[in-house]
Symmetry: C2
């Protein structure tokens, strides 16, 4: 299902290919996020024209709305959403962690209240597999238990044991009840910011045996130094022959950090969320279009970008549309930002093959951080 | 600039062609409305793929935001908005009428407060020509003075005299200061619901001499019977050899009423505004996607439509996206509704040529009104 095609000689970066039910996925890959079964502001054909081979959606959100009955009767998420390429679904572990006031983790599952209508629900790891079976996810994720970055060793260890127990239950159920040709399943490495727990998590999760492994529990409020330390440590121990997925990450710079540590897959709401706040990601850094200084700016969002938006519209126009609260405005920045993320990954891939990765990385960082970064929110 | 190519033998309907600076416009034509220099939710290429030859924008809105300085420095609205086909701009007469609490009509122009920031402005008819010159409108409209449907004869007559005086000033200024190859100018027929005033308006406006004539002052709170009566009466007296434009109209059924009375051009926010309220216009009538009954509905918005949305998505999915407050939802209904309006006009044109107009009209109305019409708002 996964082949490493090329390895960088100076870093742990690699180029690979996953074969999933809805086609191949060239890695490294950044997966745009479609929480509710649509990548916010996009129609599928716009993702297709960027050669998007996989998007991410959320089992938790889809379970609550439109609900399993709709997804089942309408033939699964691919058909429902008119999306013909791959879909990876997160299990809901992270969503229930971030909506912690509404959720309580029990020994055998998660009890929670809907953030939409307050209705009460309980889902165990097997339920989550079944939800993703109905969705028709090309890659399903096991239910995991996340804890805050500041949690002590005892708390993290207990959460890890829950994650491993659930992973085992999920995989056992999967092997008996899911068509493994159509749907793959990834395990999730937890263990917070304790290296010994990260190592144990890898050993025990790999012992269960999954089609790929994800690093979970990052981007939960830690410092960048902690993030990089755990990323580097964890990625190194993950199996070479399986895809490695860094969950919920991240920014343009994170793509470099991840890829040079051997990460193959990323997802994050970052490019689309900041886009709706008038922030364009560009080769010259983040650009906040609400800024008065762009009022007469004839230049595109990013001079180095060849996307439809950059080829046709000026900063002044996009800024005008934000000021006028036009839906077209977040459409434009979202389109550009997702294209920008994809382009970085594609450029990195080329540079790995050409042996230019280090020099591209240096150039990118020098230009991207040339000015004080503008706030994302 | 305008040629009638075909005339229906049973009605006053006609097929024609306008030659404007940004290309030909086949008539009858429904112009999608882009108040702020963007048709709400659309990118230009989506209008292009529907073969949209002309859109409408608003001099009043553009004057306030982004403002003339931006439009001038950025090279006019076509370049600013990345729109390569024609643009007709309304003069602001209707906007200042509908924002009447903020505006006061004086003898020589309109004094008003910005609905955006409360700033005070005064614009006379010549200023409005200059605004549209800077915008680069392919068709500019003269400043007119509208009054409410219930106004008495004296009030309407006084307003009409203002409209005619302003029209004369506008045209005189236009002839000396505007490149008539690049920009055309239409006069506006007013006169409220008094036929003698409508007739006088036509006579005096035509005597000034414009490139086309619009019926203004309809859709201001009158009954449908009043609307149809004045439409029929006014259209009949308008010159045969110039385009006739029915301003701010309308609904799908209004396209039939207008065309069979010899109208060549329409514009209305209706299809896009109702779209944002989850209302799809379909051959089987209006469909409110918030309705629970569509929860499991696998059928497209309109079974008879071949637009990108209808070919790829179900009512159930569009409904889900509205429920989840996804921007993609109003995008889908807006796209479909504008396509739907265009398709009606195209179908009518074909039927006129084939002599089938009356039978198509009958079929359309029977199907479109088969169920109780759902509320638009």
């Amino acid at each position: 299902m996964f082949k490493v095609l090329y390895k960088d000689s100076n870093t742990r970066a690699r180029i690979g290919e996953m074969r999933l039910y809805h086609g191949k996925v060239s890695t490294p890959v950044f997966m745009p996020v479609g929480t509710n079964g649509t990548v916010k502001t996009f129609l599928p054909r716009e993702l297709e024209e960027m050669n998007t081979e996989i998007i991410l959606s959320n089992a938790y959100h889809l379970y609550l709305r439109p609900g399993l009955e709709v997804l089942e009767k309408l033939g699964g998420l691919h058909k429902f959403a008119g999306w013909n390429s791959n879909i990876l679904t997160d299990s809901g572990g992270f969503q229930l962690f971030s909506l912690s006031k509404l959720a309580k983790t029990k020994h055998d599952g998660i009890e929670f209240q809907s953030h939409i209508d307050g209705s009460r629900h309980f889902l165990n790891p097997i339920d989550i597999v079944n939800v993703q079976k109905i969705i028709g996810s090309d890659v399903m994720m096991v239910l995991d238990h996340l804890v805050e970055a500041k949690s002590d060793l005892k708390k993290v260890e207990k959460a890890l044991e829950t994650t491993i127990r659930w992973a085992r239950q999920s995989r056992e159920y999967y092997l008996k009840n899911v068509d493994s040709e159509k749907q793959k399943m990834f395990g999730i490495i937890q263990g917070g910011f304790f290296k010994e727990l990260r190592k144990r998590s890898i050993e025990e999760t790999v012992a269960i045996g999954f089609d790929g492994y994800a690093i979970g529990g990052l981007s939960v409020g830690e410092t960048k130094a902690q993030f990089l330390d755990i990323l580097e440590y964890t990625a190194e121990f993950m199996p070479e022959d399986k895809p490695r997925y860094l969950m919920g990450v991240g920014t343009p710079e994170d793509l470099f950090y991840g890829i040079e540590n051997g990460i193959d897959m990323f997802d994050c709401v970052f490019p689309t969320r900041v886009a709706r706040n008038a922030l364009a990601l560009t080769s010259a850094g983040r650009v906040n279009l609400n800024n008065e200084k762009f009022k007469f700016d004839e230049s595109p969002l990013d001079k180095e970008c060849d996307c439809y938006i950059c080829k046709n519209f000026s900063k002044a126009y996009v800024r005008h549309l934000f000021k006028a609260k036009e839906i077209t405005a977040p459409r434009m920045t979202s389109y550009h930002n997702v294209y920008f993320m994809r382009n970085i990954v594609e450029k990195i891939k080329k540079c790995i093959v050409n042996g230019d990765y280090q020099s591209y990385r240096k150039d990118f960082f020098a230009k991207y951080f040339q000015t004080k970064t503008e706030a994302a929110f």
